[in-house]
Structure formats: structure tokens, C-alpha cells
Subunit: 355 residues, 2 copies
């Protein structure tokens, strides 16, 4: 993560950006729904990778407020508030707006225009068959009362990906079908146009799977009360690790313990920089003689080390709302150029009317 | 229809428009899918009324190319070509771009943005229950392979209507449920916003129902080969009336004939300026002694009178593509101001993020 310094965005940002594009790095699109501040699950699952992509890829980070509305239309204010929170989290972990374009989905009209266009290139039956959508419908208890925006969200995601002409999209394992859906739309648009106006995208699935909640539940979430926020205080971190689910049958230090399903070890797998030592600790824990207190102390120290600088930067940056807005604004302007250009490409390729 | 003269659009059009708004006329939105030139069915069903609305209403006419794509995605070129054709038809019948705003749907991004937003305020089940959509799905033989854009089209129509803050929308009898759907979305948006940011719209159903094709089929369409285009030549008109469906049991002049389901009388109902004389003719036809030739001659003369000046203006205007483009461009700019303002109103009222 390093100790990146944040300076005000110089005026030459756009040309800097243009220069970088010429270097032919692959374009990567990623982002987060703005429904609340990010937590260490986001760090392990995506933010850490995004820090690496800053140099190897042309990276766009989408503050997905429009998508957040697909199941938060009843609470648009939460979605609005979270825009700044998520942007703060990005900058706090070390995303550099000079190397990564942070942009706001709702302020890129080409995304809505391409979404509406793509809805004509996918059938309702196909959307309903999408395994990710099926799972989400079940998980959210929508039943037949699924908001239309939620069913249509794969087309909107295809618009996001293709508008940036992204060829690499990091997704959770359960989201790979969405990229396949995107590529189906791409192929139909290209076939109708008679030429490859849009590139297909490749899903990359991060090695680190989804981090469970501190209670061992599959999904870490602020609303589930089982998350550790990137802005967590030292006391929050301590309390969270203390409450963390381990092996319920590991009652005495001398008993053999399980490391599978043991959240402390899952977190150590994700965050411990000394993986050799960790392997030894696991063996010790499994044969007995290593208490939960010891491994929790190790994890807590690691998480304090990880979060302390993030929290400090976040606190500093949160004093300068103007700077955050400037970062979002300049990134969104750059993104607008890119996405409008793609829309024109598609409109031209399909032979639609152009005033 | 009168003998309106068409002049080049003066530069003051926008301020003229603004002046007119202040007069508090109700706003009416109407338009046509750009899938081919218009025919006399459009004239009887809507164009004639639109000529009247030019003075009594603030009228927006939408060239609905985006909506045309919902079931023509395989042939975008047809949709593109038809934009100019439909605009030509508007001007040829006497739509005055100084009094009516002619605008192009695909060039109003706020419509797509509001559509995507509204999809979050309507469930899939509700869209599927829409009787108009149900009928259309059946009529077009989509079955389960209905394009998602087609299912979502009521939300897009709600976006069109509300973006202009239209309170009056002329629709066919079968389309009234679409206005009810729009108003449901309006009420949900207003309820979420906590204040009436969008007005509800009222459907007006023209007295003249849908004109059948010359073969007596319910739907007149160019593709069905049973239409009379607004640009029809004198010979086309003559041939169409000659081929027109009457009463198949009315074999000899002296036989009693039926006027119901007799296309010639249906057209005379729609176009004959002397409705008293027409009532007498009907009585004569019903008791026997009036031949099809006579009533066809009467109808042909009426249609020739109707179409001759339209065809002449259309031919003249079609020589000046630059003028047509200018009309569309200026109208679309005016419409863009209006629709962007509405989008901002909605975003503000819902408390969404505004950069």
C-alpha cells in the first residue's frame, strides 16, 4: 500500500491521462455500490488488488450510485451519503487519482443510454436465467416483486464495462455469469453492426475469496454488524477480534483445534504478511497447545498495523471535502469523455441517427 | 389544416418558446416511433388533432427512434432513415416548428437516465401485468423471448412523459393502461421524494378510433400493404380506394348494403367534411340502390383533396434536408433544456448525489 502522498489534482490531469492511454495498458473497470463505507472484506477482496493495478492497467473505479439504487430506491439519501464515504475509502487505502480514474456512475449519461440500448439485445428469459440474478433475487427475498431495475442490472453492467471499453473486470466467483452476459450483448451488438465495435471482456476472479464476517457468516456487512470498517478505531478492532468466531470445540488450550472455518485463521490467511510462520502456527493449533488468545493477539496486531495509516489518512482527507469532490469531478469528466466516445462509436456502428 | 407557410426557423425560436410557456398552456406530449413514413391512419388518429393543439397547448412531438429500437434492434438503419421521413410528414401536414417542438428521443439523454431510475420504482410483475404490453407481446409473437427493452418500455414512456412534465397525453384506447403505469411511477417517485416533484398525466383518447387498413384489417401498416401513405401519388390513392374492402354481400347496386365494417364508410366517417350528406348516403346504401362505385368516387375525391397539398409540401421540403435537420436540431435543443431541468428536479427531490 505504501505511503502515498495525496496532493491536489493538478490541472494537467486529463493530458496526463491521455498520455498513459497511449501506453496500451489493458483497461480494467471495477468499483463499488455506494451503500456505506467499505470494510476490510473489501480490502482483502478487491482494494489490495486495485492498488497493484494502478501501474499495470488503465484503471477506472466506478462509484456505482445508480446501481446502488436498484435495491435502495426507498433510501436514496443513504446512497448519496455513501458516495463521499466510498471515495474517502479509496483515497485512504492508497488509490491515486493521478493513476486511477475515480468516477460517479450517475453523472455519466452514456451509461444509461447504452443500458437502454442493450436492453433491446437481451431477452427477459435470458435475464431471468442469469445465475447471479437468480441467487440475488432469492437472497434479497424479492420473489415476484423484484424491481425491474434489478432484473435489468446485467444490461446496465454491460453498459458500464463496454462504455469504458474495459477488457478486464475483477469479479467475485458468483459474478462470472454477469461477464458472460456482457459478452453475449457485445457479440449481438457487433453482429448487428457488422464489425467489432465493442471488445469482449475477461473476468478475473481474485485468488482471495470473499472474507467471512467476524461471526463466521459468509457475508461481511455493516448492516449485519459483523464487519470491521476501514475507519475502525483501535478499540473497534480489538473488540471485533475478541468477538471473532474460532473453533467452538476448541475449549482448552491443549485441545487440538480446527483451522478450517475458523475466522481468525481465514483472516490471517488474507492479511498475515508472514505466511511461513502462519503455516507453523496452524500446525501447532491443529495438534493442540495453542490458545485462541495467542492467534487473536497476532491477528489484532496485523489489523491494527493495516488500518492505522488508513484511518489516519481517512481522517485527514475527510477534513477536506472540497478535495474529495474535486477528485470525483475530474475523474468523472475524464470518464465522460471516454464513455461518450464509446456511445458515439456504437451509434455510428449500428447506423443510428446522429444529429 | 389550412395553408400554413413554412419559413426557415429564425434564431429567436428559443426565446419565442420561453415566452409561450409563461402563458400557462397545458403541456402535451405526443409522437411517433420512427419505423417508416406516416399514413392517413396517423392523420385521422393523431396528426389532425396535433394541428389543433398547436394553439391550445405547449406541444412536444417526439421522434421516438429509441422506442422504435425496442422491437427493431435487428434493423437500426430503418429506424434511422425514418427519422427524416416522419419529420417530413409532420411538416408536410402543417406542424409548425415555431409552435410545436419536434425533438429526437435518442438525443435526449435525460430520457434514458430517468428510464433507468424509474425501473427501480416498478416491479417486473407489474410490467408483465400491463395489458398493453401483454397484447403487444401476443401480437408480435415474442413469447418468452421478449426483448427486455420491450418489457421495460412503459418505464421509458413514463420517462418521456414526465421529462417534459406533460399533463396531457393523447393515446389510443388500448394504451390508456400505459398512462396509469406512468402515474403509478409518478406517485412512487413523489412519495419517496416527500413532495410532488412530478405531475400526473391525463390520457386523452381521440374520438376517432384507429382507422382500419384498406383491406378491413384492424391495423393499417405500410408493412401490411394496406395503408395509404401521406405521400401517396394520385394513382396510389385511386388504386387503394378501388381495392378497398366494402360489404362482400353487396353484389348488385339494388341490394341493401352494410355500412358497419365497410371500410369506405369508415374512411368517410373520418374524412368527409359533409357529415350530413354522408348520413343520407349511408341510409341510401343500407336500403339499396347505391353502388360501391359512387361511394368510392366520393371517398377518392376527398382523399385526393386531403393528400394533394400534403404531397406537394412534402416534395418541396424533401429537397431541403438541411432545413429538416435544423428543425430537428433546434427542437431537440429546446427539449434538452426541458428534460435536463426535470432530471435535476428529480435528482434533487430524491436527494441523490449532485456533483
Amino acid at each position: 500500500m505504501g505511503g502515498l502522498l495525496f496532493s491536489k489534482l493538478p490541472r494537467c490531469a486529463a493530458s496526463h491521462f491521455t498520455r498513459r492511454r497511449k501506453m496500451n495498458k489493458p483497461t480494467i473497470l471495477t468499483g463499488d455500490r455506494t451503500t456505506g463505507p467499505l470494510h476490510i472484506g473489501h480490502y482483502a477482496g478487491s482494494l489490495a488488488n486495485r492498488l497493484r493495478y494502478q501501474d499495470s492497467h488503465e484503471q477506472f473505479l466506478l462509484l456505482a450510485d445508480t446501481q446502488a439504487l436498484t435495491d435502495n430506491a426507498h433510501d436514496p439519501q443513504k446512497v448519496r451519503r455513501s458516495v463521499i464515504e466510498v471515495a474517502l475509502d479509496y483515497l485512504a487505502v492508497g488509490i491515486d487519482p493521478m493513476r486511477t480514474t475515480i468516477c460517479l456512475q450517475s453523472h455519466l449519461p452514456a451509461l444509461a443510454e447504452l443500458s437502454m440500448l442493450y436492453l433491446n439485445f437481451v431477452t427477459v428469459a435470458r435475464l431471468e436465467r442469469n445465475p447471479t440474478i437468480k441467487d440475488e433475487i432469492r437472497a434479497r427475498g424479492f420473489g415476484r416483486d423484484i424491481p425491474a431495475g434489478f432484473l435489468c442490472y446485467p444490461a446496465a453492467q454491460a453498459a458500464d464495462i463496454t462504455a469504458f471499453k474495459a477488457t478486464v473486470v475483477p469479479v467475485g466467483e458468483d459474478q462470472a455469469p454477469l461477464i458472460e452476459q456482457t459478452n453475449e450483448i457485445v457479440r449481438r451488438v457487433n453482429a448487428t453492426a457488422g464489425r467489432p465495435v465493442l471488445p469482449e471482456a475477461r473476468a478475473i476472479i481474485p485468488r482471495a475469496g470473499r472474507l467471512p464476517g467476524i461471526d463466521g457468516k459468509a457475508k461481511m456487512s455493516k448492516s449485519g454488524g459483523n464487519a470491521i470498517a476501514l475507519s475502525a478505531s483501535p478499540e473497534d478492532i480489538r473488540a471485533a477480534v475478541k468477538a471473532m468466531f474460532t473453533d467452538p470445540n476448541h475449549l482448552r488450550v491443549e485441545d487440538p483445534g480446527h483451522v478450517e472455518g475458523n475466522v481468525v485463521f481465514t483472516y490471517l490467511d488474507a492479511f498475515d504478511p508472514a505466511q511461513d510462520e502462519l503455516a507453523e502456527l496452524k500446525a501447532h493449533y491443529q495438534r493442540g497447545g495453542l490458545g485462541d488468545g495467542k492467534i487473536k493477539a497476532r491477528l489484532e496486531a496485523i489489523l491494527q498495523d493495516l488500518i492505522t495509516p488508513i484511518r489516519a489518512r481517512r481522517a485527514r482527507l475527510s477534513q477536506d471535502r472540497g478535495y474529495i469532490l474535486e477528485v470525483i469531478k475530474e475523474g468523472t469528466e475524464r470518464a465522460r469523455e471516454r464513455t461518450e466516445a464509446t456511445k458515439r462509436d456504437v451509434v455510428n456502428a449500428l447506423g443510428l441517427f446522429q444529429l
